[in-house]
Symmetry: C2
Subunit: 329 residues, 2 copies
């Protein structure tokens, strides 16, 4: 059976109402979804146990924004849990989503473009030492001579999903040598691809390391001293995946040793970080506040996908962008 | 006749010495050229009239680094003037190079990569408001919500030569809509191309304008109020070509009116600018000190081309990367 398009879904939808549970959705998202799916009846809450009993039976989908909902097993009609971001690791924790309920995530071109922008910006910012330009502006110094390094610079991108793919192509178009790492080795023109079994070979001598991996048991803590020590001296780190990919205690020692020349972190294990988190005050580290694919998360950019999935499950069909629980993303 | 390669040239070169005039070449360049062309005898000077008469007759090539040489017509054996950069407008001024003497410039992949890096870095820096991230770092603020703008952003690149071509492709790979402007309209996949006759159409509504044009009578002052007024409100300017492309007096008014949101200038009419130049202190302007393709100018990156051209002219052959004087680049 082919999945029907949005228009077909609109026509075939016969449900008078689509009851959903909003777990922390900002109002702008609900408005944008309602504009495309006027049948929604929105119930709010993070804990299904706190809903009135008769409401529990009506909810067919839970939409989740950056929180971990509770007691979803109390919703007998639940047919989908929809995360609003690309990462769904919080929904894959044990006992969060009942095993029979499919989990969907958001995957769209806006994310891929936003991440490509972020990755290319910060690779270039660090590679070309943009901070030195700002310092020269302070002292009104013109001219910088040529850059310290010559020849091809290698960027290793961990992850080769939809989001990482565009970042790799963009880096390659600029002129970088690009290596990609994925669970199963892939073939992509212009990118040297490695399976995770060849991690060391992938890392060896990279001038930049960019983490765009999903967070799973296998990838947690993958950014650690041992990993850094295989990179080129003075190399640069970008983590735009999940905070727990990085062993935070290993970062400042790697910068102090000169192995790393700088780090750009969009994510941290605990967000937002405390004011006295040492990463705030280290000039070699730039924290970017989980903004990498921020524009991809604009309500009007994701509402169409959410509305479509609601119509699909309301008709008893499978939602799009399903998460493979076994694989972890 | 096919032009011989470097190896063939080495073998066929029979001259015991190749006398050259160095007009302002830093020592590192002379060393790098000598490493590939040990026959060179280097005479220094900006004014041929000040050379001893018997030396004048020996010089077959003048190598020029960012200055305007004088009295080259006093060198009867001169068969090439080689500029060391991509731009040669200073060599095309009247009475600088005798009409019969060919002018060569440097054109290599390093320039194209360096410029693509520069353009993509600064388009993204301005588009994503990197300064706001630095400000948040000061106040230790996490999170920025989504960006103000959604949907495709258009970058207009003026110039479609070797250097601009890679920048266009890289911007397109990131996710920008890219327009290119060239003297004669071209067809490039993924880029919307305009001939200079359709300048207004090219400019209309661009969110970024990037100038990579050669400096000619037709392009001097092309970055002016009239041009800016066709762009989108709050758009961004990058000039990495020549200072005289910009009517400097028009810039701050365009920023004050909100038509331009910011400007990145790698070049100015007078370089280096005086300490009290108003562009230094305007936070909306970033001066980058003629560094865009700085790494392309590393001696080891251009010496091979120069050595090859010296061997070519020593054998009575035409040098590579000749400038078309009529066209002006």
């Amino acid at each position: 059976m082919t999945t029907p398009g949005h228009k077909e879904l609109l026509e075939m939808n016969s449900a008078a109402r689509i009851d959903i549970l909003s777990c922390n959705l900002p109002l702008a998202y609900i408005s944008a979804i309602r504009a495309r799916c006027p049948e929604i009846i929105v119930h709010r809450g993070l804990d299904a146990a706190r809903l009135e009993k008769e409401i529990r039976g009506t909810i067919i989908a839970a939409l989740v924004w950056g929180v971990t909902p509770k007691n979803l097993d109390l919703l007998p009609a639940l047919t989908m849990v929809q995360g609003l971001g690309a990462g769904v690791d919080h929904l894959l924790e044990p006992d969060v989503v009942p095993p029979s309920v499919p989990i969907a995530r958001v995957s769209n071109e806006f994310q891929a473009i936003g991440m490509a922008e972020y990755v290319v910006l910060h690779v270039l910012r660090q590679d070309r030492n943009l901070e030195a330009i700002y310092e020269r502006r302070q002292s009104r110094q013109w001219g910088q001579g040529y850059l310290d390094h010559a020849g091809a610079r290698t960027v290793g991108v961990m992850g080769l999903g939809n989001i990482a793919h565009r970042a790799c192509n963009a880096l390659s178009a600029v002129g970088f040598e690009v290596r990609g790492l994925s669970q199963t080795a892939r073939e992509i023109e212009g990118i040297t691809c490695f399976g995770t079994g060849r991690l060391d070979e992938f890392l060896d001598g990279c001038h930049h390391l960019v983490c765009l991996l999903p967070l799973t048991r296998a990838t947690k803590g993958i950014l650690n001293s041992r990993t850094f020590n295989r990179l080129a001296n003075g190399s640069f780190l970008i983590n735009a995946a999940r905070g727990s990919h990085l062993v935070e205690a290993d970062l400042i020692p790697a910068l102090d040793s000169g192995r790393l020349g700088g780090a750009t972190l969009d994510v941290l294990t605990n967000e937002p970080p405390r004011h006295d988190h040492p990463f705030w005050s280290d000039p070699r580290i730039l924290l970017t506040g989980h903004s990498a694919i921020a524009s991809a998360l604009r309500p009007e950019n994701i509402a169409p996908l959410i509305a479509e999935n609601l119509y699909l499950v309301a008709r008893g069909l499978q939602p799009r962008n399903l998460v493979d629980r076994q694989r972890g993303y």
